[in-house]
């Protein structure tokens, strides 16, 4: 049974079709990549999965639970977390505070608990802090937790974002172009990290990526989206050899050469 299942998802914006009848599955405990030329609709698909866009047609379910009607925060509570294409850490807040945001939906202390500083609230605060620190250590950030998160070097910020998503205790992690702007050394570390996320934390990972090498070495499954349509799915090798995929990419490459 799939962990994440999309059936016939179609999305239109002001008359233009962004996604067209997309069928897509992410099996449990796997690393799946979603690739495709620019403008193919990949981030839109992410936004549909996480509840920010509402597709006009189709169904999306996580472990059998329909998520289409849910608000984004409910989708996260259900177990889907994400990072963003442009890193969106909370400004003027520390690295640790950023990661702690993930724990909000897993905890429950309210106004009165906070005002009275009940023992249960203080325990919960310690728990939040500990788990957040654990996530930071897991992604390889062991110091500078007090620093303003946006003052970190870019590569580190990306890792903080991942730690933040991990703090929501997800079952499925969506990474939107996690390798963009990273050095090759950092990319290698990213590959290690994603593998550890899958193996050590038992979290499925779905990533959008343009770095084909990274995709091929990391993923167990690759799906290719072009102009809102899923044109191929399979192992990295299968997809690489698929003529439709080659055409989709070659077509774009010619244009980009022209630019």
């Amino acid at each position: 049974m799939s962990l994440l299942s999309l059936k016939g998802v179609s999305l239109s914006f002001a008359g233009s079709r962004v996604l067209d009848g997309v069928n897509f599955d992410v099996p449990p405990n796997q690393i799946v990549s979603l690739i495709g030329p620019n403008g193919a609709g990949k981030t839109s698909l992410f936004n549909c999965i996480t509840g920010f866009y509402k597709p006009q047609q189709g169904s999306i379910s996580l472990d059998g639970v329909e998520t289409l009607r849910l608000k984004p925060h409910q989708v996260t509570q259900l177990g889907i977390a994400r990072t963003f294409q442009n890193v969106r850490l909370f400004r003027q807040m520390s690295v640790l505070e950023n990661v702690m945001s993930g724990m909000h939906c897993r905890t429950s202390a309210g106004i009165i608990d906070a005002i009275l500083r009940l023992p249960s609230q203080r325990r919960e605060e310690a728990e939040i802090k500990d788990f957040a620190e654990g996530c930071l250590t897991f992604v390889g950030i062991t110091e500078g937790w007090d620093r303003d998160a946006t003052t970190l070097p870019y590569g580190w910020q990306r890792r903080v974002e991942i730690a933040r998503a991990l703090a929501t205790k997800p079952r499925l992690l969506l990474l939107d172009e996690p390798a963009a702007g990273l050095t090759s050394g950092e990319k290698q570390e990213l590959i290690e990290l994603i593998r550890r996320i899958r193996t050590e934390r038992d979290i499925s990972v779905l990533l959008i990526e343009h770095d084909i090498e990274l995709v091929m070495s990391l993923s167990e499954r690759v799906s290719v989206l072009d102009h809102g349509v899923m044109i191929a799915e399979g192992t990295p090798k299968e997809v690489q050899a698929n003529p439709r995929v080659i055409e989709a990419y070659l077509g774009v490459e010619e244009d980009s050469l022209g630019l």
């Binding site: 996480t50 969106r88 909370f90 505070e97 945001s101 608990d113 937790w145 703090a167």
Partner: protein
């Protein structure tokens, strides 16, 4: 292992000077002693002014939660102030209720008002929210001016001063101490909320509400919580305001009032508690010092606000250096 990071500490920029618990303890003692002694040293007139300033501290801290933490521009905060004051007025005058029973009633009504106003409007974008809250503020004021129960344009008078375990809270000095206690409670509650899960959630939503949603935070509920908590502050301020003055009229709950409270929040530095306290004092004391300028005072305030927004949006209170 890092210490649990509190928001730039409650002391803001002063935390570099007051860096040990001992120093902070001394500072607190000094402040408390000053508060107790002030009226004796400064005389009755100054005491009344200080009482007003303390009222504004409570109100501004409440609005600070809405604007400074959650980032919601509320231009109608005086509405909650009005709800608190009029509930106490009506309950004690028309229904013979004891003040201490009217007080929770006032809080209750303010919370209801907060939920009713907030639920449909908090999901609007910030510009619209500002105007809608302004509209609500006006609606409450106009209603207060036109309804019989609220005494119409002349308002209510003859509100009894409360008794507390045999202490008749009657004189300006009595009320000064009452407001001291209120202000202290307001500060404590604000500090605790700021350092809590909810306080952080407010900041997450304020800085990037979509990212906050993506992290599983229900932004509407979080905003509503800020709005209702702010309403409670406003209502408590209003309730004691009514008891203090003994008479209230719709003029105290106008848009100008909402703006004045907002100025207190901003001048000192949105979100920073000591800054807001300073702002409250500035807003109340400056008119006294600028008394000779008459109507020019408001103009000076407005220009000051504009200059602050253009050149020092973090407010007057010294900001702790970037960590």
């Amino acid at each position: 292992m890092a210490e649990l990071p509190t928001r730039p500490s409650a002391w803001g920029g002063l935390s570099t000077i007051l860096d040990t618990p001992a120093k902070r303890g001394i500072a607190i003692v000094v402040i408390l002693v000053a508060m107790v002694v002030a009226p004796l040293v400064l005389g009755q007139y100054a005491t009344v002014i200080l009482t007003n300033a303390l009222l504004y501290v409570v109100l501004a801290l409440g609005l600070n939660i809405v604007v400074g933490y959650a980032g919601l521009l509320d231009l109608g905060f005086a509405a909650f102030f009005a709800v608190g004051a009029y509930t106490v007025g009506i309950a004690t005058l028309h229904y013979g209720l004891n003040f201490w029973l009217a007080l929770p009633l006032a809080v209750f009504f303010a919370m209801i008002a907060g939920v009713i106003i907030g639920t449909p409007t908090l999901r609007l974008r910030s510009d619209y929210l500002a105007i809608v809250t302004l509209g609500f503020g006006e609606i409450v004021r106009i209603a207060a001016r036109n309804l019989r129960e609220t005494g119409g344009a002349t308002g209510l008078s003859g509100i009894e001063s409360p008794w507390l375990f045999g202490w008749h809270i009657r004189t300006p000095l009595d009320f000064y101490y009452v407001f001291c206690v209120l202000a202290i409670i307001a500060v404590l509650v604000s500090v605790r909320l700021a350092n809590s899960r909810l306080g952080r959630a407010w900041l997450y939503v304020r800085h990037d509400e979509d990212a906050a949603e993506a992290m599983g935070i229900d932004r509407v509920r979080v905003k509503l919580a800020a709005y209702v908590v702010g309403a409670v502050y406003g209502a408590i301020g209003g309730a004691f305001f009514a008891a203090n003055l003994g008479a209230i009229s719709p003029n105290s709950f106008s848009f100008q009032q909402s703006v004045l409270i907002l100025m207190a929040v901003i001048l000192g530095g949105m979100g920073k508690i000591p800054g807001v306290i300073l702002g409250a004092f500035i807003v109340i004391l400056a008119p006294e010092l600028l008394r000779d300028f008459g109507d020019l005072r408001l103009f000076i305030f407005a220009v000051g606000l504009l200059l602050i927004m253009l050149f020092r949006p973090s407010g007057i209170w010294p900001v702790r250096g970037k960590r």
